[in-house]
Symmetry: C2
DNA sequence: CTGAAAGCGCTAACAG
DNA sequence: CTGTTAGCGCTTTCAG
């Protein structure tokens, strides 16, 4: 079966202390002894028991990642990048899905007391950042996709207000005047949708366009089907939009689908902009103009925040607010208007 | 700081044993004592230390999931379902991405000796099942997406040959005669592509159609871009297909994209079938006909296999070969041919 | 440079 | 029903 340090020591005729030194390199070992120990190590196929090591060290080398749902392309991609970045630091990632349920999000934080994880990266939906961080008892937490200034934990996010403003401004520049905002989520507490709405309204105001409540559409979730439903309702309402700024690419793709079914030409009759830069958007018809957050950097910076908190016990350091760059990528879905 | 069993015991004026009993319920405790202990537990916000518990129990309650890449919609969705199913069993899932690299896949199995995980679910690409399972030293392994009969570990998969046959037969029934197979991967060792090719050829043979090597196209990876490249090459080759059976939905969507750009009407000029039923397929233009594997059941059965191996130490049980149901979902991309 | 031994927090066998 | 205690496998202090 599986061999312990003690077994290796017996086989090499040394003490466990020496074997431990060979394995960890924490103290010098005579060349001859080392060779003998190494041979025993190899023969027995020794693997350290992580549980014992963790118990001793008080650290696990595991971090938790909580996303609302993994089947969303955006979160899947982000999770992939985080796992990759963690691996580079020799960390393991356990993933949990909250489905945006307040209880799941709260329970998660309560559970961290179990020390399975050294830290937690969480992308909250239902629960407000304040509520979440108040519960993070013992481990450092990094919040994703937030820009709430009243922070009690590190945050990593793009500048949603600015990005939404740029996306809307781009639509205005292609000659659109009746631009719909698709993706309001007044029931959610994470603030992201609110920030994108603010950017949208800012852009309209700057261009001297009066916001029309009929063009601001609420969704319950952020999938293609929600985008499709909202778009159907928008068209049925008689609001006659000439452009749509969808708060996520998935919503935009749902809207695009409905526009096609309704016989609208894109971008001739209707321009569409999304947010997130998921891969499907690049292969849509036409390819989807979108706000591209630097996801790789989101992952990298989030992990950096965690590393700093976990390995540098400096309790005085105030919460960081990391703003990650983004850019607007213009593709076929926002060509000039045709009348 | 964080409190131990000993602290709670001191506060409640009992021994650690009693506190442990209250926490785990493994032995009866007098009602009065229990109340006192519970109060102490609550006041101190006690959380068991998982590392210590694991060291003691020899089990971690953590299972590993290794997928090639998380940003693939199919794997993302599957991972989500597995995490969900694991949660129902109070298991935690650590996720790793292999990117199909042989070294990553092998290292993963070598590492399992560290006992971070009680079991491993792996979806192999580069490494053959035999190679993989030979390395699984101490923990049970479940293979996903395989149907190799020479098994040394449990497997869970759909019947790829049958499914591919049905997809191809459906195309034949809509009047197609020059059906391309898109997605051969001779460099991979996992056998899935080979099985789908077999099913494709079976269907052609049954219909009395002669296979045309020019219609069988190889890809290096399974993303939209690979499907697009293969489709471009196919059209440029002058092979004049009237249908495409793509081995994954992502490939199919890439092919669809190229078909549109080339001015082909779908399904009039070209019918397209995919495999996997990823969400984007439902919102494509036209919606993509596809083979729908029962992913929820794949997740459920894989976990069941692991649970049986981990909790029922019956070394004699031979490897299971679980075949999960699938169906062909016919959508707009495979209407009747128009000439 | 190497050995002996304490102890991380928890569970369970063994008393009482 | 409850207290005492050994020990899971590892790291590390203290001696030698």
């Amino acid at each position: 079966m599986s061999s312990r340090l003690k077994d290796v020591a017996a086989r090499a005729g040394v003490s466990v202390r020496t074997v431990s030194n060979v394995v960890s390199g924490s103290a010098p070992v005579a060349e001859e002894t080392r060779a003998r120990v190494q041979a025993a190590l190899d023969e027995l196929g020794y693997r350290p028991n992580l549980a014992a090591r963790n118990l001793r060290a008080g650290r696990t080398g595991v971090i938790g990642l909580a996303v609302p749902e993994l089947h969303s392309p955006y979160f899947a991609e982000l999770a992939g990048l985080l796992v990759e970045a963690a691996r580079r630091r020799s960390w393991t990632v356990v993933i949990d899905q909250t489905f945006g349920e307040p209880d799941a999000e709260r329970r998660l934080l309560a559970d961290t007391g179990g020390r399975l994880v050294d830290g937690l990266i969480i992308s909250p939906w239902s629960v407000s950042p304040e509520d979440l961080t108040a519960r993070a008892r013992d481990v450092p937490v990094v919040l994703l996709g937030e820009r709430d200034p009243h922070g009690a934990a590190d945050r990593v996010a793009v500048d949603n207000v600015l990005a939404a403003d740029q996306a809307t401004t781009h639509l205005i520049e292609t000659g659109r005047r009746r631009i719909a905002a698709l993706g309001l989520q007044p029931h959610l507490r994470n603030g992201t949708a609110q920030q994108r709405l603010t950017g949208y309204r800012d852009a309209l105001a700057r261009a001297g366009l009066t916001p029309d409540p009929a063009l601001e559409r609420t969704v319950t979730a952020l999938h293609r089907r929600d985008g499709a439903e909202a778009m159907t309702a928008l068209l049925a309402s008689g609001a006659r939009p000439d452009a749509v700024f969808a708060f996520t690419d998935e919503l935009a793709l749902g809207a695009l689908h409905v526009a096609h079914e309704a016989g609208l030409s894109v971008p001739g009759d209707l321009a569409v902009v999304g947010f997130d830069d998921i891969e499907d958007g690049r292969y849509a018809h036409p390819p989807l103009t979108t706000v591209v957050p630097d996801k790789r950097q989101i992952a990298e910076r989030a992990l950096q925040c965690l590393a700093d908190r976990v390995y540098s016990p400096a309790p005085g350091v105030p919460p960081l607010d990391v703003v990650v760059p983004h850019r607007l990528e213009i593709r076929g879905s926002t060509g000039p208007a045709v009348r």
